[in-house]
């Protein structure tokens, strides 16, 4: 939580700096050399690969379920170097929507990364308040409400950070045995408006691996996201008891659960 406040401070700083330092007659040239890396999210269910509409899984309270949709926003990526410094991706280019049903969305290319040895990273699950309230022309691509496959609440302006849907015999017959978890809420607003804050910052070490970035190689960093952790964390989420959770106080429990679903898997030095 504290880190989110710090992060928002940093983002405000970034925007402030960007605004005051803009001088089109003297464009700043980023220092060479730079490289890029590929970041892949492998969605799993415990020890198995996640398969939509196919495999039946068990959650921590013994309920069986099938997953039909699993989407989440990843934003505000920072990479940590072995010298203790941090590289923050350009803020505007740091919003990604991971959708299990779209294999192409599972691999991100992070371009223009300064050369160096990287040992870890941080990212936010969701869309920060500044961008959630930004002018609509600054919200393109996956942030475009028309183009992001329903990851947006039009009645309560804001993005859905994580969407997990599926079927389970424990879900109500009246809902055709479907369950759905749509988690959002950026905590901000105007005039002291304070909604629930379901933004979560994830800190991952590369477990001692050194990811070397330079112009000649493009390493491939693979992360895993375990859908079972959505159900199993500080809160044992039961489909029978909570078959649909959207903008609701209980949603903060689910956000805290899924914040722990990410882990570092491995890196291929050059893909």
């Amino acid at each position: 939580m504290k880190n989110y406040f710090f992060l928002s401070l940093v983002l405000m700083g970034a925007i402030g700096v960007a605004v005051v330092s803009c001088d089109t007659t003297n464009p700043y040239v980023p220092p060479e050399p730079i490289g890029s890396l590929s970041l892949t999210f492998d969605n799993i269910a415990g020890t198995q690969d996640l398969k939509l509409n196919a495999t039946t899984y068990q959650n921590s309270v013994g309920e069986s379920f099938v997953v039909t949709k699993f989407n989440y926003f990843v934003s505000n990526i920072q990479l940590k170097k072995d010298d203790g410094s941090t590289y923050t991706l350009p803020q505007g280019a740091s919003y990604f929507l991971i959708e299990e049903e779209k294999p192409a969305s599972l691999s991100l290319t992070l371009a223009s990364i300064p050369s160096g040895n990287y040992t870890g990273m941080t990212f936010v699950v969701g869309v920060d308040s500044l961008r959630s309230l930004a002018d609509i022309s600054l919200r393109t691509g996956v942030l475009d409400p028309a183009l992001n496959d329903g990851m947006y609440w039009e009645w309560n302006s804001g993005y859905i950070f994580m969407k997990l849907e599926g079927t389970s015999p424990l879900a109500p017959a009246a809902q055709n045995n479907t369950f759905f978890y749509h988690i959002g809420g950026f905590g901000g607003g105007f005039n002291g408006k304070k909604t629930i804050n379901n933004l979560r910052t994830i800190l991952l070490s590369f477990n001692g691996d050194v990811v070397k970035v330079d112009p000649s190689v493009k390493p491939k960093v693979q992360l895993k996201a375990d859908v079972l952790k959505v159900f199993n964390g500080p809160t044992k989420l039961s489909i029978a008891q909570n078959s649909s959770v959207m903008f609701d106080p209980y949603s903060t429990n689910i956000a805290t659960n899924y914040a722990a679903m990410f882990s570092y898997d491995r890196t291929q030095a050059n893909q």
Partner: protein, 369 residues
Amino acid sequence: MTQCTFHSAKKLGLVISLFLFGLAVACQTKSGGSDDPAPDTTDTGGVQFHTTPVPFRQPANFPTPVYELSQNPLTVQGVALGKSLFYDTQLSRDSTVSCGFCHQQFAGFAHSDHALSHGIDNKFGTRNVPSLQNAAWGREFFWDGGITDLNTLFIAPLTNPVEMDMKFANVLARVQQSPKYPQMFKSAFGSDTVTTARFLKAISQFVLTLVSADSRYDKYVRKESGGDLTSDELAGLTLFKQKCATCHATDLFTDYSYRNNGLPVSSINDQGRYTITLNEADRLKFKVPSLRNVERTFPYMHDGRFTTLEQVLNHYSTGVKDSPTLDPALKANGQLGIALTATEQQQVISFLKTLTDNTFITNRAFGPN
């Protein structure tokens, strides 16, 4: 896994690298982060096009608008496009419902026919259609303030299954494929590509022109001709300032706050602002509506439960129901409601009728072509 502790030294490094990074991105002309090639509305990719500016109407007795006009300068072409979209029923699933279907000019861009919003397939919503006048001065929209930006407001009625019932992407596709719109987008924005931002900002441009500030009361305040008020109306104005202007503040006649005005909870059981903030203190609170053109914007309250101003004044004098979130202004000195004699109620209503802006509700520029 997710604990987040930074060393202060690391913080410093972070800030420094951030500063360098800020320099690097400061001069990028476009925000990246997307695989969508759509430029923003100010980047026309070198296309030469000419728009005619429309001055924004800033009444002398109004404060500075909240809307960022610099991000969406009004133009003749943009307003015309927005107006066309506003009155276009093809933006709804079965081409029967337009924005103007619910937001009627003669009713101050509210809806006088139904207590609750009436949409596609004769379906009903749960709230009374709010007026669209003077939107430039609003920070948040809807009875519960769920909308934080006028530009994004329009997505809600377009996609609501009981209003226009379209997928937003399909709305844009329909507009893109229509014979007339691509050319209008080109005239307004220099490109015939229908993007989310252009579509929404065009409707905003039209809605931003809907400024109501020419009622008899306005002329009275601005000391213009035609601003004479009768003795009853003046008495009503005095009473209004004493007893109503706490909430219906300024010449916009709202302070844009959310309050519980003591209405008994109806069977819809609408919790109002609470549904947006999930804050217990916001239960049963609704946005204070403007009273401009209130004579025309009946029925009244968030659910249209009152059809006449007499009923409204009667509620405030004798109908206020106590509850934990009742507004303190309606419980002053332990007395529920607002003390008003029958004569005083009539005087307040006389005054409220001076807020009717005939220029606004008959202006041909705001109606369908």
